[in-house]
Structures are given as structure tokens and as C-alpha cells.
């Protein structure tokens, strides 16, 4: 045997590896959150805060928070594709669109009940996941990026060009749903709907992370060939990531469409996909609280900077760049990555 078979460790690079355990206050907070006791307490506090929020703040805050919670759902969904399975996706808004349009068309054009329409939307999203995932899974990451981007654009153009999707104007007058006589139509109603969705998405993400499937994704992400040698069917595993991610996206889209009451192709542009991906990577791929943090940053950031008027997006972009430069693995990275 020659020297070349040595496990060749990567050259020492980041100084952070050698850095002793950091003890800055926020890092201590993060460490605290990693242990079960304080985590429970923190979770409870956050849920409580979410519940009382609309009563102590303005409608504007409620609308913005609703938006942030929508992004939490979307980001957790994309996180399954990108963070768990390691598949780059630049067209995630397509799934979001599939969910929104399926419900929009069925309820508004065919008068189907909202709750009946949901399963159709989920199936449609799953099929979209298979269509996008199927032929592309053997591609290299960069190519995967552009293929997903292409699919995303195709979905948007299709929505713009078809009659049934309402063309560029999109669909309006999507009826508000009601649940056991409760008509969901005010901003606060939708806020609570999204609180529930975000919590469900959180729980589902956590469960998936701990599941057999979650471990399989981990193996595939780290070493595809080795994973295959261990009997993991990598194509199936990756497809599962796409399909589950698609369903998360569709759920976001379903409720997005009834919340806004109107949808148009512009809401599902490439920029939308980028924004969602941005949130995931910014927060910390694969790390659920990190991803949630990222979702809040991309939604609240530009809003908080609203006072700067035309400069706000520039400031946001510069801050973003700074975060990536100083914390390249995201603000709250996944340790085992």
C-alpha cells in the first residue's frame, strides 16, 4: 500500500476550529437551547408570545408576522430538500405556486370546498416534486440548481399564459374558508392559522430529522456512494425529500392564496425562490431554529428598514453579505454538518 491511501485530512483552514468554546452571551443562549429543559421553556415562551402577539400589537405587525410564519413553513420545507438531503433547489417557489393555484382554481373556478381542495393540492405538489425530482436526481449540484430554476420559471410562465390560472392578473376572489362555522377571514384569523401551520411544520421537521429517513438523508448528503453501499436507495431517498419539501411548500401556498384572496404569477418568481433559499442558508442549513430565525430575518429585515425608503433594500443586502462573510455556515449552523 502506498502513502496515497492515507485518509488525507483537509488542510487546516479556519481558525474557528481551534477556537475554544465561545462564551459570548448569545452563544450561551444557543447552547442553553440545545439542552432539553431550557428548550422546552423557550418553546413554551415563544408559543405563548405568538398567541398573545395580536392583542398587544397593531394589525400591521400581525400581517407582517403572518408573512413571517408563512416563510417559516416554506423555509422548513426547503430545508428538507437543501438542508437535510443536500439538494440545491432554486425553484422552490414552483411548489408554493402549485399549492396556491390548485386551491385557487378549484375553489374559485369550480366552487369546490376549500377543505376538499386541499388534498388535491397536496397530490398535485407531490406529483410536481416527482416530476422535478425524478429526472434530475443524478445531476451534479450546480446543474440541479439550474434545472430547478428552469422548472420554477416554467411553472410561473405557465401560470401566466393559461386561461384557467387567470393569466398575468392571476386569480382574485378566492373565497375565504370556514371551519366548523368559523369563517376565517380577518388578518388575526389568518395569523392564528399560520401559527398553527408553523408549529406543525416545526414538529414535522423535528420528527423527520430524528427519523430513519432523516438519518438516511444525512448519509446520502455526506457520502452518496457509501450510503448506497449500506443499502440506502438514494434515488428514493432524494425523491422523498423533494416530495415532502413540495408538500410543505404547497401547504404554504394553499393558505397564502386564501389569505391574500388573490394570487398572481409575480408572487412565484425566481426572486421568491431565492428569498426562501436565502433564509434557509442564512439561518443555518439543516438546523430548524436557525431556519426559523432566517425566515424571520428575511421578512422582518426589509420591514424594519422601511424608514430608509429607497436605501432599505441596499442596507438589507449589505447586512446579508456581512452575515454570510462572518458566519458562512449561517447564523445558527447545524453542528453535525
Amino acid at each position: 500500500m502506498s502513502d496515497s491511501s492515507n485518509p488525507r485530512p483537509s488542510p487546516p483552514r479556519s481558525s474557528s476550529q481551534r477556537e475554544p468554546e465561545a462564551r459570548r452571551p448569545w452563544q450561551r443562549l444557543i447552547i442553553a437551547f440545545e439542552s432539553p429543559g431550557p428548550r422546552r421553556a423557550l418553546q413554551a415562551t415563544i408559543v405563548l408570545l405568538l398567541i398573545v402577539m395580536p392583542w398587544i400589537s397593531s394589525q400591521y405587525t400581525t400581517v407582517i408576522l403572518t408573512n413571517a410564519l408563512l416563510y417559516v413553513v416554506l423555509c422548513l420545507g426547503l430545508n428538507i430538500v437543501v438542508g437535510y438531503a443536500g439538494l440545491l433547489d432554486l425553484g422552490y417557489a414552483a411548489f408554493f405556486a402549485v399549492g396556491a393555484y390548485t386551491v385557487g382554481i378549484l375553489t374559485q373556478q369550480f366552487g369546490v370546498n376549500f377543505w376538499v381542495a386541499i388534498p388535491f393540492a397536496l397530490v398535485a405538489a407531490a406529483i410536481a416534486g416527482i416530476i422535478i425530482g425524478g429526472p434530475t436526481l443524478r445531476l451534479r449540484s450546480d446543474y440541479l440548481a439550474i434545472v430547478t430554476l428552469g422548472f420554477g420559471e416554467i411553472v410561473r410562465f405557465t401560470a401566466r399564459n393559461l386561461e384557467i390560472t387567470g393569466g398575468a392578473s392571476g386569480l382574485s376572489h378566492i373565497p375565504e374558508p370556514s371551519l366548523f362555522g368559523w369563517r376565517i377571514d380577518s388578518a388575526i384569523d389568518f395569523y392564528y392559522v399560520f401559527v398553527v401551520l408553523a408549529i406543525l411544520a416545526y414538529v414535522a421537521s423535528q420528527r423527520l430529522f430524528d427519523s430513519r429517513l432523516g438519518r438516511a438523508w444525512l448519509y446520502v448528503r455526506h457520502d452518496e456512494d457509501a450510503a448506497e453501499a449500506m443499502g440506502i436507495n438514494r434515488v428514493r431517498i432524494k425523491l422523498a425529500a423533494y416530495v415532502i419539501g413540495a408538500i410543505f411548500g404547497a401547504i404554504g401556498g394553499i393558505f397564502f392564496s386564501v389569505n391574500l384572496g388573490a394570487i398572481s404569477p409575480e408572487s412565484f418568481s425566481f426572486q421568491q425562490s431565492v428569498l426562501i433559499l436565502l433564509a434557509v442558508v442564512l439561518g443555518g442549513m439543516g438546523k430548524i431554529p436557525g431556519v426559523i430565525l432566517g425566515a424571520f430575518i428575511v421578512v422582518l429585515g426589509p420591514e424594519l428598514l422601511r424608514e430608509f425608503d429607497t436605501l432599505r433594500l441596499l442596507i438589507f443586502a449589505v447586512l446579508l453579505l456581512a452575515i454570510m462573510l462572518f458566519r458562512p455556515s449561517g447564523i445558527w449552523p447545524e453542528k453535525r454538518a
Binding site: 400589537s57 397593531s58 392578473s169 377571514d185 391574500l260
Partner: protein, 374 residues
């Protein structure tokens, strides 16, 4: 530095209650202005805001304000011509408990805000946006003081027929406004028994239209109607003429900007535009133009008169209602009785749209728009 303070303040506001602040003696009447102040349409938004500011200042100065001396105060909500952003802006305005909202430029971005204002029951005067898609989405609290796409399609039909056009090519940009206008024109045109030679889309920001121009030339159309905005319209006009298209070219009211001449250059000579009333062609606007130029050091843009009227109309309705009660103001708005405003008389159809067509036809001559008389 003060911007930084604003940031901190707004951060604090986000977490706390917004409403309990600033309860002075004679509280001002806060009106929301929903226009794009960022994004590609920011020029128009700024122009519209200027005109409204002028109107507010006049009211505040002349009559000492409204309702026994309450001053009008304007708050902007940047729609950025984007649906989601404008909903955020609208709910922000709603949260600040504005008495009414004036504005609305991009139809696509205005449409979803109708629900926001409807839910909050805020009177809304839509000054520029005129897609017919807005009509069914209006819960009743909004009025449109610009003529709608239907009126423009009718103007276009009359114009092209007057020119003896037989075969028309219609090009839009795949957004709500231009697609709506294109569809309406196509329907009106075919209904009148004429032929649509080509019905085409281009992407916003796409610079090269050579393939499209070839197709139009190959289709045998003797006129082209561009239904979208001036920026890409300028490029299309230019490339059509460069490629030797000899027929009539007309553009919709999204392209009636003087900037079309900057972009299209020589090629814009002899191009026709359908336009809402711009200040240059309004007999009553001389004073307005002078005031506007004195205050903002530039000429009023195409939507300035409508924006000015919009704010005046809102103030008039508040005065007529005698209070800031939303229902009373909405009722007052809808009762507008054909009184003469800067841009002409305003009264509304049962659909809350302007009861007359205000479209005029302009022709590009000597690098500027002139009134076209057939």
C-alpha cells in the same frame, strides 16, 4: 442619524402598540398615499406623491385644513409595484388608522390591497390604476377616478378604425395591466369585425425584440398597439422603425411618458398614444403647472393631475361627510356629482368607476407629445 432613530422607533413600534401615540389637541387628519416609491415605477410614484402634497398644502393653507382646522397629514406606503409589498404597505397604513387612502398606480399591486382596505373599511381613491380586474375586486369602499381599460380599448378601436387599419398586432408585457388592456382591445377589435394579425408577449426587461419585430412584419399587420409601459415600449418602437416597419404605431397610457422620446429617439416621431388627461392638455391646469414647477422644480408627470384630483376629492368627501367616519366618507365619495375638477368632471358608475371616458389621443411630434386631431 435621524434615519437611525427612525429605525429604532419603528422597531419598538413593531413590538408595542402603535395606536396610543401622538394624541395632540387638534389631531391632524392622516391620509395614506399608496404609490411606488421604489422599483421601476418609482418616478411615477414620486410625481404622484408630489401632486398630492401640493393639494394637501393648498387645503391646509387656504381653508386652514378640514373639519374646523384639522390639518391634512400624508403618510406614504411604498407599493413598489409588487403585490406582496403593497399588501404589507397597505396593512401598515391601515394600522396607522389613516382616514383614507389615495393612490394606486400599478394595477397588479393595487388589486390585493383592495381587500386590505375593504376589511379595514378605509375609503380608497384609486387615481391611476385602471385595469378592469380591479372592478370586481372592489368591496365598495374604493372609487376609480381614472378611466378603465374598457374606455381605453374603446378609444383604441375608434382610433384605429379612423385610421383605416384592417389588421392589428397587439403586444403586451405579461403583467396584469398590459395583459388586461391587450385582451380588451383584442376582444373589441375582433368584435368589430377586424383581424388581429399577431397577439404577442414580451418579458419585462428583455431588450431584444428582433424576433418579435420580424414576426409582426411577417404577419402583415398595418398597425401595432403596445399596451404596456414606456421603458420597453421605447425599445419596441425603436426596433420596429429600425427594421423598417412603416405602419401605424400606438401605445397605451402606460407609455405616454415624455421619456419614450429619450429611449426611442427619432423613432417616436409619429407614434400615437392614448392618454389620460396630462397637465399640458388641460385648460384648467395652468396654475397647477406653475405651482408644481415652483415647488418641485420639474414639470408635472402624466399622473400628477389625477393624483392632485384624487386628494382633493378625498378632502371634499371628508368635508361633505362632516367627520372622519369611514362610511360617511365612502358615501360622500360615491355621491360625487359631476363637479368639474382639474382633470374634468367626476361622477361614478354603480361599479365605482369614472362615469366618462377621459382618454385623449396624443401624437409624438418634435420630441414631445401633442394633442392629435384627426
Amino acid at each position: 442619524m435621524s434615519q437611525f432613530r427612525n429605525l429604532i422607533v419603528s422597531t419598538a413600534l413593531l413590538g408595542l402598540s402603535v395606536s396610543s401615540l401622538a394624541m395632540a389637541q387638534e389631531p391632524p387628519i392622516t391620509l395614506g398615499v399608496q404609490v411606488p416609491t421604489t422599483g421601476s415605477e418609482a418616478t411615477y410614484g414620486q410625481d404622484m406623491f408630489n401632486a398630492m402634497q401640493l393639494a394637501a398644502e393648498e387645503i391646509n393653507a387656504a381653508a386652514g385644513g378640514l373639519l374646523d382646522g384639522r390639518q391634512i397629514e400624508l403618510v406614504t406606503g411604498d407599493s413598489a409595484c409588487d403585490p406582496q409589498q403593497s399588501v404589507n404597505a397597505a396593512s401598515r397604513l391601515a394600522s396607522r388608522e389613516v382616514v383614507g387612502v389615495v393612490g394606486g398606480y400599478c394595477s397588479g399591486a393595487t388589486q390585493p390591497t383592495l381587500k386590505t382596505y375593504g376589511d379595514a373599511n378605509i375609503p380608497f381613491v384609486i387615481v391611476a390604476a385602471n385595469s378592469t380586474q380591479l372592478i370586481p375586486a372592489n368591496p365598495g369602499n374604493a372609487v376609480m377616478i381614472n378611466s378603465t381599460g374598457d374606455d381605453q380599448a374603446k378609444t383604441a378601436l375608434d382610433f384605429f378604425e379612423g385610421k383605416g387599419i384592417e389588421s392589428l398586432a397587439i403586444v403586451n408585457q405579461g403583467d396584469a395591466y398590459s395583459q388586461d388592456l391587450a385582451n380588451l382591445t383584442r376582444d373589441a377589435w375582433t368584435e368589430a369585425g377586424h383581424e388581429v394579425a399577431a397577439f404577442e408577449y414580451v418579458n419585462k426587461g428583455e431588450q431584444d425584440f428582433s424576433a418579435l419585430v420580424n414576426k409582426i412584419r411577417g404577419s402583415g399587420a398595418d398597425a401595432v398597439f403596445w399596451t404596456a409601459y414606456y421603458a420597453d415600449g421605447g425599445l419596441l418602437v425603436r426596433q420596429l422603425r429600425q427594421r423598417g416597419f412603416q405602419g401605424t404605431i400606438a401605445v397605451g397610457d402606460g407609455s405616454n411618458s415624455p421619456k419614450l422620446f429619450d429611449i426611442a429617439g427619432q423613432a417616436a416621431e409619429g407614434v400615437f398614444a392614448f392618454s389620460n388627461p396630462t397637465a399640458d392638455f388641460l385648460p384648467a391646469a395652468e396654475q397647477f403647472i406653475a405651482d408644481y414647477e415652483a415647488e418641485f422644480d420639474s414639470a408635472p408627470g402624466p399622473y400628477a393631475p389625477l393624483a392632485y384630483d384624487g386628494l382633493q376629492l378625498m378632502a371634499w368627501a371628508i368635508g361633505k361627510a362632516g367627520s372622519t367616519d369611514a362610511d360617511a366618507i365612502i358615501e360622500a365619495l360615491n355621491s360625487a356629482d359631476g363637479q368639474e375638477w382639474l382633470a374634468g368632471p367626476i361622477s361614478f358608475t354603480p361599479q365605482h368607476t369614472l362615469a366618462r371616458s377621459n382618454f385623449v389621443v396624443l401624437e409624438g411630434q418634435g420630441g414631445r407629445w401633442t394633442r392629435y386631431a384627426p
